[in-house]
Symmetry: C2
Subunit: 255 residues, 2 copies
């Protein structure tokens, strides 16, 4: 397929690379950020542009991979009758693209994508289209870059997945961030925790997280909890969350 | 070395296997749990016993891998003059073993160990001893099973690592547990989140978590946060934590 990519951030860069690797042709990349756009255009041996007025209107498919609140802004001035247009946001309805074309949809990668990582991870894709042509096209595009990891999902299902993604990715990363700050202040090497962090994530392949919950909270181990709280006295924010999460674990889970 | 292992839970089982694989001899396993003890004894081709009175007193080294609150109880009635004795708990002082021998210490694996996993993960080890003989012996034992992952750490440092371990492992696993319960109730497949969970953990090899924090909280994306809260209306406990963690991220991190 001939594809135009709108946006030059992490999602645009990683999806573009995957499209190219799957044999599609990226005919243009459009972004207000001239330097990231031209870097990607150079990488993909294609052209870049910095204004929507320069948009190539001859492509088959337009992928809008920009921040959530910029999608509506772009859609407002965009008319691509007969073309297929999709955005990549988990938390935005497809209807935001209704005025652009009759063939609009969503192409949502449920993954943390970073352009500087060359080995991109397994990326489940969730698609929906305003009509069968759009759905079929997005589905086949999804299969071409993530075989076996493609699911049709309406806006509500996608939004719920997005909530769950925030919990398992943004909130866990925040736990890592708090632990890193704690280690730094206490003179410990945060990197010594990486094997534990990896194992905690990777064991989910074989176990439900509920079955493998351990630690002083679920054991109601008051002595250890008290020692921990004492060691968090110079870290009020982490101490507060420690208490809240410990209480929540004790209320919701049984050992 | 000739080693006696006291305990037959996850830590006892995994450390025992690692000792055996490194060429040490496990001369006895002692545990109140007769069935898990005899299963491990069979696996290691050694003998098991269920009462401390049957303890083999001819070994070089005794590893006490039992729940935190059972260590003191075992130590109370144990006398092993001249022998090296260590427990494996992150949050317990080595002094609990003071009455057992002059050569006591700690041998703490900073990892989530599970006996049913045959491929055990990289396991950083933290040791300390009451004297140089004990320290050197525990250090060399640690190197024999976790080469390059061995650190001397006093009780306070070990306890602080234990706090950090609770944050990055128990609390993140709780996030996974909450997300799994949410998915189940909403008819979503939690397993579709596994690639994201893995990537969030594995990218820490290349990035500080602080640098890669994303999501609606750090973006102060009120519209998405409001949508998410609405989708959590039937999940009061998760909704409450969502609000608390979002607020904490916004207070502590800058985009």
């Amino acid at each position: 397929m001939e594809i135009v990519i709108i946006g030059s951030g992490n999602v645009a860069a990683v999806l573009g690379r995957k499209f190219k690797a799957a044999g599609h042709q990226i005919v243009q990349i459009i972004s207000r950020n001239a330097s990231t756009a031209s870097a990607l255009a150079y990488e993909w041996d294609t052209e870049s542009a910095n204004y929507m007025i320069l948009l190539n209107k001859q492509a088959d498919l337009y992928i809008i991979a920009v921040p959530d609140d910029a999608i509506g802004e772009i859609a407002k001035d965009l008319r691509l009758p007969g073309k297929i247009v999709a955005h990549t946001a988990g938390a935005v309805s497809k209807e935001v693209l209704k005025s652009v074309t009759d063939h609009y949809g969503v192409f949502y990668p449920l993954q943390s994508l970073r352009k500087e990582t060359m080995n991109t991870p397994v990326t489940p894709l969730f698609f929906e289209g305003s009509d069968e042509i759009t759905s079929k096209t997005l589905e086949s595009l999804a299969h071409s870059i993530s075989p076996g990891q493609v699911t049709r999902a309406g806006s509500e299902e996608r939004m719920k997945l997005h909530v769950a993604a925030v919990v398992v990715s943004n909130f866990t990363n925040y736990m890592y961030t708090l632990a890193e700050a704690y280690c730094k202040k206490e003179g410990l090497d945060f990197r010594q925790l990486l094997p534990l962090i990896e194992e905690t994530a990777l064991r989910l392949k074989d176990h439900s997280p509920k079955e493998v919950q351990t630690g002083p909270a679920i054991r109601h181990d008051k002595e250890t909890i008290q020692k921990h709280i004492a060691l968090l006295k110079d870290h009020p924010s982490l101490k507060n969350l420690y208490l809240i999460l410990t209480e929540s674990i004790q209320e919701n889970l049984k050992f």
